[in-house]
Symmetry: C2
Subunit: 342 residues, 2 copies
Amino acid sequence: MAGSPKRPRGSLAEVAELAGVSIATASRVVNDSPHPVAEATRARVLAAAEELGYSPSALARALVTRRSRIIGVIVGDIVDPYFAEITRGIEDVCSKAGYMTIVCNADRSTEVEIEQLKLLTDYHAEGVVFAGSGYIEDDRGDELAALVERASDQEIKVLSLARRDFEAPSVRIDNRAVARELTEYLISLGHRRIAFIKGPEGLYASADRLGGYEDAMGAAGLEAGPVHEGDFTYDMGHAAAVRLLADAELPDAVIGANDETAIGALAALRQAEIAVPDRVSVAGMTDTRLARFSDITTVSIPLYQFGAIAARRIIAGAGDADVGGDTLLPHRLVPRSTTARR
Amino acid sequence: MAGSPKRPRGSLAEVAELAGVSIATASRVVNDSPHPVAEATRARVLAAAEELGYSPSALARALVTRRSRIIGVIVGDIVDPYFAEITRGIEDVCSKAGYMTIVCNADRSTEVEIEQLKLLTDYHAEGVVFAGSGYIEDDRGDELAALVERASDQEIKVLSLARRDFEAPSVRIDNRAVARELTEYLISLGHRRIAFIKGPEGLYASADRLGGYEDAMGAAGLEAGPVHEGDFTYDMGHAAAVRLLADAELPDAVIGANDETAIGALAALRQAEIAVPDRVSVAGMTDTRLARFSDITTVSIPLYQFGAIAARRIIAGAGDADVGGDTLLPHRLVPRSTTARR
DNA sequence: TAATCTCAGGAAAACGCTTCCCCACCCACC
DNA sequence: GGTGGGTGGGGAAGCGTTTTCCTGAGATTA
């Protein structure tokens, strides 16, 4: 780097001094506050600020105004397109409003979520978005719930984007309906034996989607199954499909609890030279970019909107207005080339 | 929410009062500072902190210690797995060290990058990572460079993960070598006519990769081309391949400037019932998860390491040690099923 | 016994900002 | 010639910390 002297950082006091005014006046100018300031004075302050390359300390400002302009989002894994899309929605809204977005990866662990939430409150985040789903029997659940309540007491807006065992408004979809409608669609195509590859054990999202599948099968008078274990990953989807292939009877269709699972299954079937969709149909859920590339049938979930709406709510309720209740976003079936009439 | 009274936020002063000690002593206990504190006193303070659910304000602390424990990363688009992987590397290292990661999407615009950098300095970020590549003829380039220099003066560690027209240490790969080696590999497989689908216009990464391709072709005495426009997206890769199909003569192989481009091209070829790799080989660069799923030949780039190393450097140099020079990370050819001997 | 140390603890400055409250005008109005 | 109201500006408190410097009280040494 050039040998430029390490200037510490221009402060408002320096600007004020250079302009020959008080700190109060300088502050008024740079924030253009309603308090009147003479044009000439204003110009002097602005010039001084310009010369010093002054930019206000967001930290100091946050401390006194009690508004940090920081929003935190706790995701399972930012590499997962599911969470990336949500984060993008949050960040877009935030940056347009001059807010900062802090991203925390929790690796789907409640314990880590607790840590992250603590840190976020230490930074006086104005809002915290829990992007991931919760666990059904969660031994740390109460601890998290208590922490969330405390955060709310401290004027931190907590929002969840999936089913959660704590008191907080949410923006979400009806996972059960998503799976049900997808299953109904496959049934309407004439499929009878429909396999299901589950999501991670104990996750509400997994349970809800499995439930929706079972609902639809039951309503159609069909026997649910085979149902295989999965964890939302390609590899597990692949492995489950391989197990499926070992069965005496091949299913008419395979549903993955998410796109990645379905794509893994799709790959396994194709490797085994099973014609998709002619012999077996395959479908997933979420409609990530992956699903589009693979041209796989799925159910579209407005992930970007999840994030955008959540962020807007937090920023809008920044005064102290309530952040609102629960919003249910619509999903949409997207038929593509991996499903066909039997 | 439960009608719990809105407690503002426990402060150190309250803890001190409850414990019957001064703020100074309370501070010493919660930070376990070297300054001696009697065991009994320590216990009282700890108990008070526990009772009040006290947690220190990171903002106030940052203000006085001049260490915000915030690292910013400016990415093109967090949804792009390329950037998501990098961000994950940063976040993992950060969170292990008690740092926060602020993510900013710049949409590959220098202008937005400038805004983000300003905001990040306002928040006293200890380091800023520029994840994306720079533009060759960039009219805002000087402005950004000046801002980066100012940031460095303010003890903010700036790091770039690609070629950039500003003064900052970097962690990167040799894009030219990446493309060259991939091209050489295809040539070694007996391909002569090798098409190339470029990255976005004006980006250093695009130019370097194109250059590497041309180097290899030239060195082998082959004529480069056809070369088609692209922008790192699936759609443009697809479109380019369609144009390729319209030519009188089909190439032996197609290289995409990144995986997504190559996968788009692959899809177009398969839709046209061109056998891959029997008739045409296809290869990309980066080795994202997408590439693995598509089983496409590519060159692996250690994205996660990019982020992790950058973050480690920033945190390590937190005192005031220099953040170091340039690190060149290794890449690795990953042959998969979309390339074959001609 | 006086001088010196060590251990514990407190007062207060500083970080950089916003904002409340006060003051001093100047002008208009009755 | 008072009173009132706008206009322009400053002083200082306060946000929640860390940290430097200082003060006592005992214990130790000469």
